[in-house]
Amino acid sequence: MSEYVLAASDRPLFEWRWVERNADEIVQRLGEHLALTTAALAIGLVVSVALAVLSLRWRWFYAVALGTAGALYVIPSLGAFALLVPFFGLSFTTAVIPLATYTLLILLRNIVTGIQQVPAEVREAAIGMGFTRLRLLLQVELPLALPVVIAGLRVAAVTTIGLVTVTAMLGMGGLGFFIRQGIQTTTPNPTAIIVGIGLSIVLAVLVDALLWLSERALAPWARKAGRA
């Protein structure tokens, strides 16, 4: 690796020229990054809602599901990828399974907590009006749990966006591609590294803000109640 040292010293830390020249690819990698993030969050959300429904019915199931999600959350990302590569290759599947898995702990906990804090009177009123269990869940409980669910989604989204950069080790593209490219070319390119890190942070902040805004739009009562 020492040959990098000499080559590195004559390159400025940041070159706008590089950014302009690679604008198309930057957009493409951003798209890949968003696709992986969205897929992981969508899968995680669907699985978590299903687990939450079962958890609300049986206490023991919640304990088991939360414990399992907690153990999975502890697994290092590279270890999880390594476990899957021999079976799914260097693929989208290998990348998305651990990413979705990491969202389960926080999403499951927030969905269940959110639904549990729906006031009993509200639930009884809905049942009294003849709501079925499914309608109660979809039209009353989930909407009222929305602020807490979105709070979980925000944490999950920011974490996932950072982790997607690691999937560059699987050749998955995304913004991690630039980070890796920065030291893999014969002349290391600091601009690529900085663009990769910078855009990943910007993306995380933007998605976080977007989710926060959507919470305010979808659940305006939460703001009035001063829960924000």
């Binding site: 690796m1 990098y4 040292v5 590195a8 010293s9 153990a71 502890v74 697994i75 290092p76 990302s77 590279l78 270890g79 999880a80 990828f81 390594a82 476990l83 590569v85 021999p86 079976f87 944490v155 920011v158 974490t159 966006i161 950072g162 982790l163 950069t165 690691v166 560059a168 080790m169 913004l175 991690g176 980070i179 890796r180 920065g182 030291i183 290391p188 600091p190 590294i193 900085i194 990769g196 890190i197 990943s200 942070i201 995380a204 902040v205 976080d208």
Partner: protein, 241 residues
Amino acid sequence: MNAIDQALDWLGQPNRWSWTDPAGIPYRTLEHLGFSALSLVIAAALAVPPALVLAHHRRGAFLAGSAVNIGRAIPSFGLIILFWYLASRWEFDTSFWPLLFALVALALPPLFTNTYAGVVSVEPEAVDAARGIGHTEGQVMLRIELPLALPVVLAGARVAFLQLVATVAIGAIVNDGGGLGRFIVDGFAQGAGGYGEILAGGLAVIVLALACEGVFALLERFAVPRGLALSRRAGLSTRPV
């Protein structure tokens, strides 16, 4: 299941269980743990004292609140590579310092935030009582606030350490040692021929992380001040959220 056979084959090689040979899993495990622990100790030395003082004076609440969010948004993979690049540019020793810097930086936010939250949640009566019996402000911080905040500080250390264990593995991409991640990165470099090494190395990393989680769970149980353990047994929760 060719990959499983390959992994068993890889695990069965004679030097694989050596404590002294870099090809050995025990050797790499110790390296992995050593690097993670060193980073945690340095990060704790940097984060805990300022958090304790700031929380004692109730300053910097915004910083403490947002530190973890900021930390989450910074991609650890990028930080490692950036520091490695900077080290090679400034002709530092690239095999150790860049990774250490990146790891310490990643461990700071949870340690800082939890220490702060833990100290702030200490009951004001306990602090007033300590002052009443003549403790100085320094003594209040070290003898009352820090011990009472310990469960929350340890929870932060646990989060930080698990992130460190995960990130040391990624560090193998630039670090010649790299702990157990060495096997995974080397396996990736071999393509399909390295699937056995990738699989076995991945398993080793996962087992290590789960074991560390278990040890921290025990630590949190036993390192709690006796008075706190009593109040908890009496049903008073000491953990904010």
